[in-house]
Symmetry: C2
Subunit: 130 residues, 2 copies
Amino acid sequence: MKICYEPIGILHTELTELSEAPRFYTESPYTGVIEVFPPYEQGLAGLDGQDRIVVLFHFHLSKDYELLQHRRGAGELTGVFNLCSPMRPNPIGMSVLKLTAVKGCNVYVAGLDMVDETPILDIKPFKPFA
Amino acid sequence: MKICYEPIGILHTELTELSEAPRFYTESPYTGVIEVFPPYEQGLAGLDGQDRIVVLFHFHLSKDYELLQHRRGAGELTGVFNLCSPMRPNPIGMSVLKLTAVKGCNVYVAGLDMVDETPILDIKPFKPFA
Protein backbone atom coordinates (compact mmCIF):
# COMPACT_ATOMS: atom_id res chain seq x y z
CA MET A 1 0.00 0.00 0.00
CA LYS A 2 1.58 3.24 -1.15
CA ILE A 3 0.48 6.57 0.31
CA CYS A 4 1.57 9.54 -1.78
CA TYR A 5 1.65 13.23 -0.97
CA GLU A 6 2.75 16.36 -2.77
CA PRO A 7 4.62 19.15 -0.97
CA ILE A 8 2.52 22.18 -0.04
CA GLY A 9 5.65 24.33 0.11
CA ILE A 10 9.41 24.47 0.37
CA LEU A 11 11.81 25.81 2.97
CA HIS A 12 14.35 28.53 2.28
CA THR A 13 17.16 28.94 4.81
CA GLU A 14 20.90 29.56 4.96
CA LEU A 15 21.37 26.08 6.47
CA THR A 16 22.42 23.85 3.58
CA GLU A 17 24.45 21.03 5.13
CA LEU A 18 22.68 18.25 7.00
CA SER A 19 25.82 17.81 9.08
CA GLU A 20 25.40 21.37 10.38
CA ALA A 21 21.72 21.02 11.24
CA PRO A 22 20.92 21.06 14.93
CA ARG A 23 19.86 17.62 16.14
CA PHE A 24 16.62 18.96 17.53
CA TYR A 25 14.54 22.05 16.95
CA THR A 26 14.88 23.26 20.53
CA GLU A 27 18.59 23.86 19.98
CA SER A 28 18.62 25.90 16.81
CA PRO A 29 19.67 29.50 16.08
CA TYR A 30 18.59 29.26 12.42
CA THR A 31 15.75 31.16 10.80
CA GLY A 32 14.08 30.69 7.44
CA VAL A 33 11.01 31.10 5.29
CA ILE A 34 8.50 28.43 4.31
CA GLU A 35 7.24 29.35 0.85
CA VAL A 36 3.74 27.88 0.65
CA PHE A 37 2.82 27.24 -2.97
CA PRO A 38 0.10 29.58 -4.36
CA PRO A 39 -2.70 26.95 -4.55
CA TYR A 40 -2.46 26.51 -0.77
CA GLU A 41 -1.89 30.12 0.34
CA GLN A 42 -5.47 30.61 1.53
CA GLY A 43 -4.95 27.75 3.98
CA LEU A 44 -2.64 30.05 5.99
CA ALA A 45 -5.55 32.29 7.07
CA GLY A 46 -5.53 32.89 10.82
CA LEU A 47 -2.13 31.34 11.36
CA ASP A 48 -0.43 34.66 12.05
CA GLY A 49 -1.97 34.75 15.53
CA GLN A 50 0.04 31.69 16.58
CA ASP A 51 3.30 31.76 18.48
CA ARG A 52 4.49 28.32 17.35
CA ILE A 53 3.54 25.93 14.56
CA VAL A 54 4.01 22.22 13.94
CA VAL A 55 5.68 21.55 10.60
CA LEU A 56 5.73 18.12 8.95
CA PHE A 57 8.34 17.73 6.25
CA HIS A 58 10.15 15.22 4.09
CA PHE A 59 13.77 14.40 4.98
CA HIS A 60 14.72 14.68 1.30
CA LEU A 61 18.42 13.97 1.93
CA SER A 62 17.74 10.67 3.73
CA LYS A 63 18.34 7.77 1.41
CA ASP A 64 18.22 4.78 3.75
CA TYR A 65 17.54 3.76 7.34
CA GLU A 66 18.52 1.32 10.05
CA LEU A 67 16.08 -0.11 12.60
CA LEU A 68 18.69 0.18 15.36
CA GLN A 69 20.75 3.37 15.58
CA HIS A 70 23.05 5.05 18.05
CA ARG A 71 21.46 8.05 19.72
CA ARG A 72 23.02 11.17 18.18
CA GLY A 73 25.38 8.92 16.28
CA ALA A 74 27.39 7.84 19.30
CA GLY A 75 25.11 7.13 22.27
CA GLU A 76 23.06 4.08 23.23
CA LEU A 77 21.88 1.74 20.49
CA THR A 78 18.09 1.95 20.32
CA GLY A 79 15.15 1.54 17.95
CA VAL A 80 14.53 4.11 15.24
CA PHE A 81 11.02 4.74 16.61
CA ASN A 82 12.65 5.77 19.88
CA LEU A 83 14.76 8.36 18.05
CA CYS A 84 14.23 11.54 16.01
CA SER A 85 16.85 10.43 13.47
CA PRO A 86 16.16 11.48 9.85
CA MET A 87 17.06 7.95 8.71
CA ARG A 88 13.66 6.29 9.26
CA PRO A 89 11.45 3.88 7.29
CA ASN A 90 9.21 6.81 6.32
CA PRO A 91 11.50 9.86 6.42
CA ILE A 92 8.92 12.31 7.74
CA GLY A 93 10.21 14.98 10.07
CA MET A 94 8.27 16.97 12.65
CA SER A 95 9.39 20.25 14.12
CA VAL A 96 7.80 22.79 16.40
CA LEU A 97 8.98 26.12 15.00
CA LYS A 98 8.67 29.64 16.30
CA LEU A 99 6.41 31.62 13.99
CA THR A 100 7.64 35.16 13.51
CA ALA A 101 5.41 36.40 10.65
CA VAL A 102 3.09 35.39 7.83
CA LYS A 103 3.22 37.58 4.70
CA GLY A 104 1.25 36.32 1.73
CA CYS A 105 2.51 32.84 0.98
CA ASN A 106 5.64 33.28 3.10
CA VAL A 107 5.78 31.86 6.62
CA TYR A 108 8.76 33.23 8.58
CA VAL A 109 10.08 30.78 11.17
CA ALA A 110 12.87 30.45 13.74
CA GLY A 111 14.38 27.50 15.57
CA LEU A 112 15.03 25.54 12.38
CA ASP A 113 16.53 22.05 12.29
CA MET A 114 15.81 21.58 8.58
CA VAL A 115 18.02 22.29 5.60
CA ASP A 116 17.43 24.51 2.58
CA GLU A 117 14.94 23.17 0.01
CA THR A 118 13.24 20.79 2.45
CA PRO A 119 9.82 19.85 1.02
CA ILE A 120 7.03 20.84 3.42
CA LEU A 121 4.12 18.40 3.80
CA ASP A 122 1.89 20.09 6.33
CA ILE A 123 1.56 22.92 8.82
CA LYS A 124 -0.57 22.54 11.94
CA PRO A 125 -1.29 24.71 14.96
CA PHE A 126 0.83 23.86 17.98
CA LYS A 127 -1.08 22.71 21.04
CA PRO A 128 1.07 22.32 24.14
CA PHE A 129 0.37 18.99 25.76
CA ALA A 130 -1.18 19.70 29.14
CA MET B 1 6.80 16.00 -7.10
CA LYS B 2 5.22 12.98 -5.46
CA ILE B 3 6.50 11.71 -2.10
CA CYS B 4 5.37 8.18 -1.34
CA TYR B 5 5.42 6.24 1.90
CA GLU B 6 4.29 2.79 3.00
CA PRO B 7 2.60 2.23 6.36
CA ILE B 8 4.83 0.76 9.08
CA GLY B 9 1.77 -0.53 10.92
CA ILE B 10 -1.96 -0.37 11.41
CA LEU B 11 -4.17 0.68 14.33
CA HIS B 12 -6.68 -1.65 15.97
CA THR B 13 -9.32 -0.02 18.17
CA GLU B 14 -13.02 -0.25 18.94
CA LEU B 15 -13.50 3.26 17.50
CA THR B 16 -14.77 2.72 13.95
CA GLU B 17 -16.79 5.84 13.10
CA LEU B 18 -14.99 9.06 12.27
CA SER B 19 -18.01 10.95 13.60
CA GLU B 20 -17.43 9.41 17.04
CA ALA B 21 -13.72 10.19 17.15
CA PRO B 22 -12.69 12.82 19.67
CA ARG B 23 -11.67 16.07 17.97
CA PHE B 24 -8.31 16.04 19.70
CA TYR B 25 -6.21 13.45 21.43
CA THR B 26 -6.29 15.22 24.78
CA GLU B 27 -10.01 14.48 25.04
CA SER B 28 -10.17 10.78 24.32
CA PRO B 29 -11.16 7.80 26.50
CA TYR B 30 -10.29 5.31 23.72
CA THR B 31 -7.51 2.76 23.81
CA GLY B 32 -6.05 0.59 21.06
CA VAL B 33 -3.09 -1.32 19.70
CA ILE B 34 -0.72 -0.26 16.95
CA GLU B 35 0.36 -3.43 15.15
CA VAL B 36 3.80 -2.65 13.75
CA PHE B 37 4.50 -4.84 10.75
CA PRO B 38 7.19 -7.52 11.33
CA PRO B 39 9.90 -5.94 9.12
CA TYR B 40 9.86 -2.89 11.43
CA GLU B 41 9.46 -4.56 14.84
CA GLN B 42 13.12 -4.13 15.80
CA GLY B 43 12.66 -0.37 15.45
CA LEU B 44 10.54 -0.42 18.63
CA ALA B 45 13.56 -1.26 20.81
CA GLY B 46 13.77 1.02 23.83
CA LEU B 47 10.36 2.59 23.27
CA ASP B 48 8.78 0.84 26.27
CA GLY B 49 10.52 3.26 28.62
CA GLN B 50 8.51 6.18 27.24
CA ASP B 51 5.36 7.59 28.78
CA ARG B 52 4.04 9.18 25.58
CA ILE B 53 4.77 8.79 21.88
CA VAL B 54 4.16 10.91 18.80
CA VAL B 55 2.29 8.98 16.12
CA LEU B 56 2.04 10.15 12.51
CA PHE B 57 -0.74 8.53 10.52
CA HIS B 58 -2.72 8.74 7.32
CA PHE B 59 -6.30 10.03 7.55
CA HIS B 60 -7.47 7.19 5.29
CA LEU B 61 -11.14 8.25 5.43
CA SER B 62 -10.43 11.81 4.23
CA LYS B 63 -11.26 12.14 0.57
CA ASP B 64 -11.07 15.87 0.01
CA TYR B 65 -10.19 19.16 1.68
CA GLU B 66 -11.07 22.84 1.82
CA LEU B 67 -8.53 25.61 2.39
CA LEU B 68 -10.95 27.48 4.66
CA GLN B 69 -12.91 25.51 7.24
CA HIS B 70 -15.03 26.18 10.28
CA ARG B 71 -13.29 25.29 13.52
CA ARG B 72 -14.84 22.05 14.80
CA GLY B 73 -17.36 22.28 11.99
CA ALA B 74 -19.22 25.27 13.41
CA GLY B 75 -16.81 27.86 14.80
CA GLU B 76 -14.77 30.58 13.14
CA LEU B 77 -13.81 30.20 9.49
CA THR B 78 -10.04 29.85 9.31
CA GLY B 79 -7.24 28.33 7.23
CA VAL B 80 -6.73 24.58 7.18
CA PHE B 81 -3.12 25.04 8.36
CA ASN B 82 -4.52 26.75 11.47
CA LEU B 83 -6.69 23.68 12.21
CA CYS B 84 -6.19 20.01 13.08
CA SER B 85 -8.98 19.00 10.67
CA PRO B 86 -8.47 15.64 8.91
CA MET B 87 -9.53 17.27 5.63
CA ARG B 88 -6.15 18.73 4.59
CA PRO B 89 -4.12 18.90 1.36
CA ASN B 90 -1.88 16.12 2.69
CA PRO B 91 -4.07 14.15 5.12
CA ILE B 92 -1.35 13.35 7.65
CA GLY B 93 -2.44 13.24 11.27
CA MET B 94 -0.30 13.69 14.36
CA SER B 95 -1.25 12.53 17.82
CA VAL B 96 0.54 12.39 21.13
CA LEU B 97 -0.64 9.10 22.64
CA LYS B 98 -0.15 7.62 26.07
CA LEU B 99 2.01 4.53 25.79
CA THR B 100 0.84 1.75 28.10
CA ALA B 101 2.93 -1.22 26.90
CA VAL B 102 5.06 -2.64 24.09
CA LYS B 103 4.80 -6.40 23.54
CA GLY B 104 6.57 -7.75 20.48
CA CYS B 105 5.17 -5.86 17.51
CA ASN B 106 2.17 -4.54 19.46
CA VAL B 107 2.22 -1.01 20.85
CA TYR B 108 -0.60 -0.44 23.38
CA VAL B 109 -1.83 3.14 23.45
CA ALA B 110 -4.46 5.28 25.15
CA GLY B 111 -5.97 8.69 24.37
CA LEU B 112 -6.84 7.75 20.79
CA ASP B 113 -8.45 10.13 18.30
CA MET B 114 -7.95 7.75 15.36
CA VAL B 115 -10.31 5.13 13.95
CA ASP B 116 -9.82 1.41 13.45
CA GLU B 117 -7.54 0.42 10.56
CA THR B 118 -5.76 3.78 10.42
CA PRO B 119 -2.45 3.32 8.54
CA ILE B 120 0.50 4.31 10.75
CA LEU B 121 3.35 6.19 9.07
CA ASP B 122 5.77 6.80 11.90
CA ILE B 123 6.32 6.64 15.65
CA LYS B 124 8.62 9.12 17.39
CA PRO B 125 9.57 9.78 20.99
CA PHE B 126 7.59 12.61 22.58
CA LYS B 127 9.65 15.57 23.74
CA PRO B 128 7.67 18.12 25.72
CA PHE B 129 8.35 21.55 24.38
CA ALA B 130 10.09 23.48 27.11
